[in-house]
Symmetry: D2
Subunit: 330 residues, 4 copies
């Protein structure tokens, strides 16, 4: 029998991706949870009504038999809803930034408000399976990583742990994202005419995904320069990461060791790198390296809506429920 | 000395195009008139502040010496502002749909409200120079045509007048527009992710530009089937028009006669048609014909922001002020 | 055990789509057949080599145990290869235009050369399951329909059969396609800079898909005006079809009757129409109708690479092998 | 009287931009010089034949009265043609990479062949007016800079000269370009379907524009890490440049000093940066800085076809002929 999984925020881009992935999942099936009405429904073919819809309340969830809720919502909504569903004995996977930063001080600096409930923060497991698989298994509350930090941490943490980086020279992460990363709510920033034929940088040296990278990679702020940029595409993240080495080292070999058994990390031959088309629609994070003696450029690519959001959330669900980790994702 | 021309709605796409065209005009120069503050200003390079800004009131206009005002505003704003500037002795070119339909009944059917002031409607001259040049010269109030009707009327009126169309078979105008035609105000319809990789039809058989075509071409509603569609491009309109003939006739020859002396109508050899790149950034409307005996397909292309809006408005200004019609436009 | 299905032309866009669909098929699996080397391979992640590759010869196919070959090749290559595989007892699904036109005279007019082998043409079954399901079942040689004709015939044939169209007024099919329909071979027509920000019409009133529509819809050439146009998107076809009726009739009801049991035809409520995002990546053809008394506009949308090519080919394979028709496609 | 300027390679994207700019120039007018026929002519409106066409030979040029030739050609064609026109007493502005590198050894490493004529190389003046204005004035042979090096050198040279960069930490230049930078010749790399929805890096750490940056900025190869990337847009270059400082310094102030009188360098307030839409269609190079103590990110933007090619070539022509430097460019 299929495990019923609720989606709050199903009209957004991550929400739609969750519907797609859960509709093809062997053990789970989606149910849509209305939180706030918006005018964003698309015309629906006759007789193709899609998953059932209920209210986004613990009572409605329990009555329908929902065992897990995905919050594809702004962080303030997640802070409101997560404790309610958890209190009702329903597992929660939160895709917002609310519970990603372990220290309230750091959270307050970047997200400002509302205040984060300390007990809930303590319980949240950071859902990056490649590094926190054991903690995710059996967790009842997982905080799904940000799209930029997923690729950055997957690229950087093995190199930091190997101790081969020249940290004083600093690391540069020049990140580019498709527009769906900015959400479906209309704004001038996401207006077609402002984006098409354009390319723009934002939140230079002050993006709130930076502390999430630092926390999980072991880097310090002064060592890590990060720029976010908007590509005129629907989806996909590509990060071009520049490092200098403090010793002779083969970065491809370090990745081969670190990720030998990882189903969703793909590596390339030395000198070859992925592009967005290699990963879009998949849960892969692809890593390629171009190295010139002690300088290296790493290209990390992922689909911001899959490995950077909904796919990783399903990967976490698989671990939480004890199902094979790749179910519904390959 | 340069004639000062005010622009209300200068942050919109037609407004920006007016700034561009008037900045290079030999007899006119732009001044920006703040109507409602929005957050849409772009970062400005140091020392490049652009044209002077004043309030969008008759008093401010008179004090600054403004002789002509362009209203690149929604129709309800134009209905509010046009009489004020006219009363102050300032000429007005309105780019909205407010004053295009000659009959209040028809206006009420398509625009609903606010009510259109009848005296002002009577004074407004429809600013399609190729057909109403004499009336525009010397006018103090011009209603600038809609983007779709400009191309449709330029393509159809000479054929209607030549009497060669099989009106019973009907005329099909399959129109496609870039997204800037929908304005700069953010909406789900203009969200980058909803438009890119997409193509969609809207207002099928019920677009409010239809009565504007009928009024100026001599066609009746049942004879004219019109669909508007959104192309994932910033700018440009292409209309594919299907007609059947009631006699042997050479449509290219009819256009050659009708438009021999028109500076902004370009024609193509039989069998050749324009695309958007042929006209974008220009004030041309290009017409090409593919004919197979008594069936013909006409492709009309224009830049919706130039010949379909700001460029035609400048062309009208040139006529109103007695300057050479192509000044600032070639 | 999985049925091995060869793909010739696997580097093209339809070929890549066949790999994707067959890789997820419950009864079939793909094998790649090298016909002509090109430089178009993309970088491949370490250890992700994809399906096995063999030569595109009957001998290699038989040795590998291939039971069915998809020809995603130009028509001249299909004419060369189809007889070879058939003679070797291997079923063939040809995605080219070679065997779609039943009369050699008509073929010669549109495809010119090479000459089509008459016996093979006689055996080819036109693979539009919604109309030729019985013939496709058990066929060993299927000619997969063109992308434009698939949507046009699905939209028009039920209306022609119902006898409600005013054929004298004529039918207009204004068709738009994504660029992948032009194939992967580089040309100026498919250069990014010639396509982006552009929209262009081609083969007006003389596209070689026209006779394919006439042959399967029952229309005559003088009744059917067709224009093909290039949208700046990767994939998707949208056809805006204009008809006039010779009697009062409800087109949505006619479609509801004709397609009640069809798994891949989706219909919309009266007045609603599909866009490209509704169908892209799916094997659906979506039909929507806007009707105003005896005038109607039909919008038909499909993914040119799926229902318009690879998906329909898999649908045909399912029928030929006696598998459930939707296997691997929903 | 207008100075006649020939364009070889006028069908390419830089060539088309030269036509556009020279057609509006107060002292010069274009003439098109046929070098090799290609099929790339677009349909031309009746009576709009554009500039006159002659052969690309010194004889034809002299007969027509051409005083200056722009070579918008591949480097091997420029090496063939430049000496011929110079020998005929005609000034040459070469837009290829042939004559940009001062040392034949370095040229041979990056361009391989054909061999560069040493005497001609000695005469070529590097046409970056902001740094070599005096040499360009009066030159008869100018080598127009590459698109990437123009922005990189304008951003970096003042900082190198000010001595504020921590060169040991290294400089990262993450560069992104529109597709027109790859030329108009069709290739898989520029196929619409390979570019749209995609973003890809190429020539990482080994682009042949690198030595051109080093030569003109004073940096050494090990200090400068450069990646080129393809944005799915027609035109525009944006370079995100990461530097660390060896002392407290205000980069905006350094730019303000260096570029106070430069007509084509625009600067932004601290913390503000340009995007592509700020510069496209213009000859500006825009520079913005985000600084956090001794770390800084510089965003440099230009139109690769204008300041990165045709516009800068016209700027050089203005200097060579003693005309006001901004003529035809503002």
């Amino acid at each position: 029998m299929s495990t019923l999984t609720g989606i709050v925020g199903f009209r957004g881009y991550s929400g739609a991706e969750l519907i797609r992935l859960l509709s093809g999942h062997p053990h789970a099936s989606p149910i849509l949870m209305e939180h706030r009405a918006d005018a964003g429904d698309r015309p629906v073919p006759v007789g193709h009504t899609g998953p059932r819809r209920i209210a986004s309340t613990p009572a409605a969830a329990r009555e329908a038999g929902v065992e897990c809720v995905f919050l594809a919502t702004p962080h303030e909504v997640s802070i409101e809803l997560a404790p309610e569903f958890l209190a009702a004995g329903i597992r929660v996977i939160d895709l917002s930034g609310a519970f990603r930063l372990r220290t309230p001080d750091i959270y307050n600096r970047w997200y400002k408000e509302p205040a984060i409930p300390a007990d809930l923060l303590a319980e949240a497991v950071y859902g990056l399976p490649e590094f926190y698989r054991a903690e995710i298994r059996g967790a009842r509350f997982v905080s799904n990583p940000g799209c930029y930090p997923t690729a950055a941490n997957l690229a950087l943490r093995p190199l930091v742990e190997a101790g081969v980086l020249d940290l004083e020279a600093g690391i540069v992460c020049d990140a580019k994202s498709g527009v769906s990363g900015a959400g479906r709510k209309p704004s001038l920033k996401t207006h077609f005419c402002e984006v098409t034929g354009n390319f723009s940088a934002y939140s230079i040296l002050q993006h709130r995904h930076v502390p999430e990278v630092l926390q999980n990679s072991g880097l310090e702020e002064s060592q890590f320069s990060f720029t976010a940029q908007l590509i005129p595409v629907h989806r996909g993240i590509l990060e071009t990461i520049y490092v200098r080495l403090n010793q002779d080292a083969d970065l491809c070999a370090i990745y081969a060791d670190a990720y030998a058994d990882e189903p969703f990390i793909r590596r390339y031959a030395p000198g070859q790198v992925p592009d967005l088309q290699a990963v879009n629609g998949t849960n892969f994070c692809d890593l390629g390296v171009v190295q010139n003696q002690r300088r290296a450029v790493i290209v990390a690519a992922e689909d911001n809506l899959v490995k950077g959001a909904a796919g990783q959330a399903v990967q976490n669900m698989n671990l939480m429920f004890g199902w094979p980790e790749t179910d519904g994702l390959l």
